[in-house]
Symmetry: C2
Subunit: 404 residues, 2 copies
């Protein structure tokens, strides 16, 4: 009998309801938390009128209320993972629909916009404490991604990374947008990259952040500007992946991967994969081209390889819910770069029908490539305990016959 | 004997040295002008230490000093156009290397960043007055693109457009970056699009603007931050075309071309053409896709066509100095969309060796397509006087044998 598939979801989410983080927040911030939580709940509620359409979500949530509690309930979560055949998962913050996000804006957006640095740090560390506990239930299966508000204080971020490692967390998420702070080519971040490289901590960028006020209006979500700003959502979904790639544009050209060659980074849930090859081709074009940029002087000498070489060596792609058409582009990437994800418990995820999705998407797909994308690439990239995970997979994993 | 080629350059530049604009600036701004010019000259000089490398430019300029005066000297300009075989040209501001840019930041960048609106308007109108005079030398051959600081005052922009038309200018350039102002999907700009559509005025976006302070540092160009911000130039050249496409992303999704179906726009000197098809595919993907964005509600109903349909109907591409490899992508665009440009008198242009460039680039290229790209598309898009221009071409235009 052939071994069952070892499936790893590189895009899952978990978190408490915002109010339930209180025990994990340092007590000196409790007064601010009590003030902030109702404000943040109100904002999320108003946002759900236009961004995550409330009616759609209500209809979607009603029959799966219990399954959604897996965002924080460990027993329910393992039941959900078993149902989807998932042996291990990478866990980002924010269940979204249940308002389960860390306080003070320390969740998936992790935006420095309008943030009070001290409070965002408090919210991030509250989530990280809870996450470390949650993953400790079975560290081989649950890889938590800690929230690190890097922009405010690089030295503090280095200390936070050390705290993470000491507490079993070896993946971190940093802001995708830097707003008015220096971007990631700035050498001020070198101590952070150095610590991550030294400690084997993987840096994550998760799709979602974008300059929402540009699209939806400066007062969004407090006011409904949709009459004055038609098409805002179309613009958002058309631009959001560019904002996800952007940190890598800065890191690659900034020589971060040249200087820290073992540093690993991931971009997650960037939507369709077909924008990545043209973006890489453009970076390389500007590395190799000389005529049109001659007036700009030599801006390549600090890089020993072409930009796409760093991308292939140092970066992996979290290809959540990837459709078959995108899988056919795999030749444009390194064989170890594409990693599947279920996006549990988000509405656009493959769960709780991952089995059905897998059969539809991978039928007739080459098994060796399929095994890599569905799990083996993540095992290698994150350095997971393969033998332990194969034991789990042998109980809950999908049959290899799905490739037939 | 076959007719000579009618060549139109859709990307040329002209302008006075910044100090020489004084006679065209309203006298009430002269005091401010006297204060501003030395500051702007100093900034440009410092910028040339890092952005337009001074040494490179000195070496480049020395043997062509006279040719560069065609940026403002009409006789020299017509001599240059004749040498390049160019019958007509679209004229943007800024010769750059001779510091010939309109005052108060009203030139090619036309950035609202750090601008005093009243002064930028004064600088823009000074350039527009000079440009109208310059083009009046031979209006069939010289199509000036007026500078319109639209973001500050939409009603004033409408009046400026009417002034332009009254003075023979039917092309305008508006800011590519809006900084803290509302983007182009905002309905506040409708009166401007309406005036342009009604008067047949074509809206231009010229490549170049980008968030330079992010790349080069907030104090750039006053301080040299290159040690702290390695790779800044590589990031800039890799991102600049995205900032050029961005206004169209907002206009298309904002329904501007849906509401003003005869409005015409151009993007100019966006570098390689191969990023355009993936960008259009992405816009269309987000128009047709339903599953992954179901949670966002219906954001397409205000558009009767897919985004790429508006792009093909309303937008032309100024493909300055286009290489042969990019021409092979022409099937991805409408047959009338691609328009060649020489970029005279910028350092990266094909001049003064356009003849050599044309023979190298178009040898063996289908003549019908070549004629369209090199001139006929611009004639149709801008509604130029074809018979008059063919007369000019018959004297100075290249031989059709270059396609052999």
């Amino acid at each position: 009998m052939s071994e069952r598939l070892l499936v790893v979801s590189t895009d899952c989410h978990a978190g408490l309801h915002i109010a339930d983080y209180k025990p994990y927040v340092e007590s000196r911030y409790h007064e601010m938390l009590d003030l902030a939580v109702p404000v943040q709940l109100d904002m999320m509620s108003k946002a759900s009128e236009s961004f995550l359409i409330a009616e759609i979500n209500e209809a979607w949530r009603a029959p799966i209320a219990r399954q959604l509690t897996g965002a924080w309930d460990y027993a329910e979560r393992t039941r959900m993972l078993a149902g989807d055949g998932i042996a291990a998962e990478i866990i980002f913050p924010d269940g979204i629909t249940e308002y389960n996000t860390p306080p003070f804006g320390a969740g998936l957006g992790l935006s420095p916009r309008d943030a009070v640095p001290e409070l965002q740090w408090a919210g991030a560390m509250a989530h990280n404490r809870w996450l470390a506990e949650f993953c400790a239930n079975d560290p081989a299966r649950h890889i938590g991604v800690a929230s690190i508000p890097l922009l405010f204080d690089v030295q503090r971020a280095v200390e936070a990374v050390r705290w993470c490692v000491d507490n079993g967390l070896t993946s971190v998420m940093i802001p995708t947008l830097w707003e008015d702070h220096p971007p990631y080519h700035h050498t001020r971040y070198h101590p952070f990259w150095e610590a991550c490289e030294e400690l084997g901590v993987i840096v994550h960028f998760h799709s979602g952040p974008a300059p929402h006020p540009e699209y939806f209006g400066r007062d969004w979500p407090q006011e409904d500007n949709s009459e004055q700003l038609p098409g805002a959502m179309g613009i958002y979904v058309s631009e959001v992946m560019w904002w996800l790639y952007r940190p890598l544009t800065f890191m690659i050209w900034g020589g971060v991967f040249e200087r820290f060659p073992r540093l690993k980074a991931v971009i997650v849930e960037g939507g369709t994969l077909y924008m990545l090859p043209p973006w890489l081709r453009l970076l390389d074009h500007n590395y190799h081209d000389v005529h049109f940029s001659a007036k700009l002087g030599d801006f390549r000498s600090h890089l020993s390889m072409a930009p796409s070489d760093y991308f292939r060596r140092n970066v992996a792609i979290g290809a959540s819910c990837v459709p078959r058409a995108d899988l056919e582009l795999r030749g444009a990437f390194g064989p170890g770069q594409i990693m599947w994800g279920s996006d549990y418990p988000h509405p656009e995820g493959t769960w709780p029908r991952t089995g059905e999705y897998l059969r539809q998407t991978f039928a007739g797909f080459p098994e060796a490539d399929g095994r890599r994308i569905l799990g083996e690439n993540a095992v290698a990239f994150y350095g997971l305990d393969r033998s332990r995970l194969q034991q789990v997979a042998n109980e809950i994993g999908p049959e290899a016959s799905l490739f037939n």
